[in-house]
Assembly symmetry: C2
Homo-oligomer: 520 residues x 2
Amino acid sequence: MTIRNFLFVMCDQLRADHLGCYGHPHLATPSVDALAARGVRFERAFVTSGVCGPSRMSFYTGRTMTSHGANWNRVPLAIGEVTLGEYLRRNGRSLALVGKSHMTPDRGGMSRLGIDPASDLGRSLAAGSFVEIDRYDGHQEPGSESGYPAFLREHGYTGERPWSDYVVSVTDDAGNAHSGWSMRNVRWPSRVAEPHSETAWTTDVAIRWIEAQGDGPWALHLSYVKPHWPYVAPRPYHAMFGLEQCLPPVRSDAELVDPHPVLAAYRTQDECVSFMRREVSDTVRPVYQGLIRQLDDHLGRVWETLDRLGRWNDTLVVFTSDHGDYLGDHWLGEKEQFHDAVQRIPLIVHDPSAEADATRGTTDTHFVSAIDIVPTVLEALGLPPYAHRVEGSSLLPLIRGASVPAWRDFVVSELDYGYRAARRVLGRKPGECRAWMLRDGRWKYVHWQDFRPQLFDLEADPAELVDLGLDPALAAVRDALHGRLGDWLGSLKQRVTASDDDVEHGTDRHREAGIPFGVW
Amino acid sequence: MTIRNFLFVMCDQLRADHLGCYGHPHLATPSVDALAARGVRFERAFVTSGVCGPSRMSFYTGRTMTSHGANWNRVPLAIGEVTLGEYLRRNGRSLALVGKSHMTPDRGGMSRLGIDPASDLGRSLAAGSFVEIDRYDGHQEPGSESGYPAFLREHGYTGERPWSDYVVSVTDDAGNAHSGWSMRNVRWPSRVAEPHSETAWTTDVAIRWIEAQGDGPWALHLSYVKPHWPYVAPRPYHAMFGLEQCLPPVRSDAELVDPHPVLAAYRTQDECVSFMRREVSDTVRPVYQGLIRQLDDHLGRVWETLDRLGRWNDTLVVFTSDHGDYLGDHWLGEKEQFHDAVQRIPLIVHDPSAEADATRGTTDTHFVSAIDIVPTVLEALGLPPYAHRVEGSSLLPLIRGASVPAWRDFVVSELDYGYRAARRVLGRKPGECRAWMLRDGRWKYVHWQDFRPQLFDLEADPAELVDLGLDPALAAVRDALHGRLGDWLGSLKQRVTASDDDVEHGTDRHREAGIPFGVW
């Protein structure tokens, strides 16, 4: 069947290992698992940065953080960058958004080029060329870009700040309200009923939108804000899991002995100070799992909609996350750093084509990356590859069982911690805070500007507990990985104003252009 | 004296070693030497790419080729890039152009962002934010962007193509006309009288413009198209030098034994096939020297103008070139490759400030680069440094004798030969043709995508005749240089939508923004 539609489901801060099909022993996720049964589950999928904004900009542009330049949350994606929505629009399609995009308008770029932010072009650029059906970025009081506040008020959650007062507030056993921003309070349920929660609202909007498309071709980014903090879950999900059903923190006391300077600086930040205490992760982990289970239940509603409308036959479905969550692993909270808890993501792709039948329900172990989504969608929809900009590779050959002898054998992820308190702890200036992780089948190498490297032997130490960054016996390994990282940086695509075809057709044409240099 | 004005003199394809003050034994260049006596002569100045377009875009943006992305002639500078002219305009100044800029409009970028190329903004972007007083890029019949064709016709050089028919045509001893595109013909003089030559015209326009500025502050890019090919010189410069007054080609037979694959491919191209023959370089070199001597004479007129107007007291003067010329050195013609004949350029800076008095007439041996011009000018004129985009460093601390403990100890230059016939000889695709040179005080290391490296020991072999790229004894040296190159790539500036101040002020501010994550 020809692929006509594209459904791009993203969760926010969802660890790969917190899904049934990715091996969680107690957290059943039947809907995600059902998608895996219909498609290919990528076992080695990684983000380009363990930070929402940069990671999403890579998902949306098909380009690495170094290339798209939006290296932190709210750093605008330069208007010179082209997103999937724009590629689709160039080809008579469009990309709808329900939920989070984390796009920050490049107002400076627009002003410089005389583009009115209120014009159609300005608004489209500000939206990253998504058609925003309902924009809901989460973890802040939503405004007019989302129907969620009105929906909440309709259902009796009144006041100026219904999200703060209800959605991320909780009611304790005595009936008192508390803020869910304090993690000690997330053991109690949200003050909204489950059908009025963020995940339910986002799913409702998406289903209504899909239904409204009829048989017309469509593309939708269904982008949940959960299980990202605040870790507040509605009843009954807030108490669905006991601690014994949670994964314990992966960490060892040895990790705190002579730690890497940047990690030591991170551990002075609130989220790490908190998550270093077992009480915190013991409180949060069950709720985090509840939020995932809730997501899975709502995904079941989406799958049912596709079923009812016959859309499994003509819809490419991608399920993924923008990064993971430490939850206390390695004495860290939140994300950003380079352990697999953060960098590895779930990625499941359902390709309705007959060519993909042989791989349904299988697991793929190639190294794949967030930058591979754009080229996958472009190929699936029969559109040009824009290969002079797009740095990823289409996953379709893998999904369709083609021979892919030249597939990459490593992934790279990046960090710029310039906006973080750790920068000041370390006495660094903005622009001096970059790091890169190169991870292959055996090694994870992290190169820090002006600090010693990290190195993990993932065969001997899959839990990444022993940093070999200073092991003299492994100097040659580190040098080789450092060299590969440099070659990778040199492989990024910077010639964005001329296509590969332009180069091909312009090669050795100076004579035709009337410039016959070099002749005797 | 406060610096009010900026005069940025660039020659095209002028080798550093073809100037008196840079050591040429027979080619006297009293005007350039006089500037050196007034300022600082940089002995180790290098381009970012040995190709006109990419090199100039680095001079004009303060950014490396990888960062500005215009990696070949006529590859448009993306409209997201900011040039010196725009920085000046933001600050109530402007940058005039007389001569060559090699800017190619980013029509695709303008179209995408709804910018009319005929609007003021569109025209300014197309001009790289130069105010084009007289745009004259050379080596093609000029059009309406220059007054030169009309000037030629006024002086009796009639017809549709006065440049082709007269400026780059020659008259042989029998009075017959020949094209100067054929290098065999350049032993004869141009069919224009010297006062009507390109260099004379460009100088005339510049002097008139400077005179018209009165005491008002001004900034001018005086950008000559010579001594770039076609190597046609007007009488008497065509015959001013005998072969015995020219530098002999620097090359050895050993260079042709088991040569580097990319150089071997280059040597199948017209300009190398020609310049490998001694007859060709013997014919061209005297004329090349004549063109330089002519330039020097006209620079004398510019200096006289500054003198007469009192402008030496308040004008920053920069003299440089966009790259050199092989002229048969290393069995190569033209440019692009990484030997010093091409990569090293003259760079002389006259700073009128009293702080610079102590260094007048001195030579500086720091490694400096084309990307240093923008920051030098910005600092000299008291403007913001735009340090999140600009990758170079101001030369003023060096010129003013300040202590600069952290100055770079190497330079990097880049090449993408995707548009060249050599690409097809080698069976490469566009996007697979990149190379980087890292040159420090002792070593020159060239890293090629998918080909072996080159390595020269500049202490033992200053003429770069012995490629040590395969010497097993130097593997550790090459690895170390490769690692430095990777670190350099990682140091380039990609966060162009947020300034360093934005980062500084935005650091650790999530609580103030109402996002108090990570607290217990």
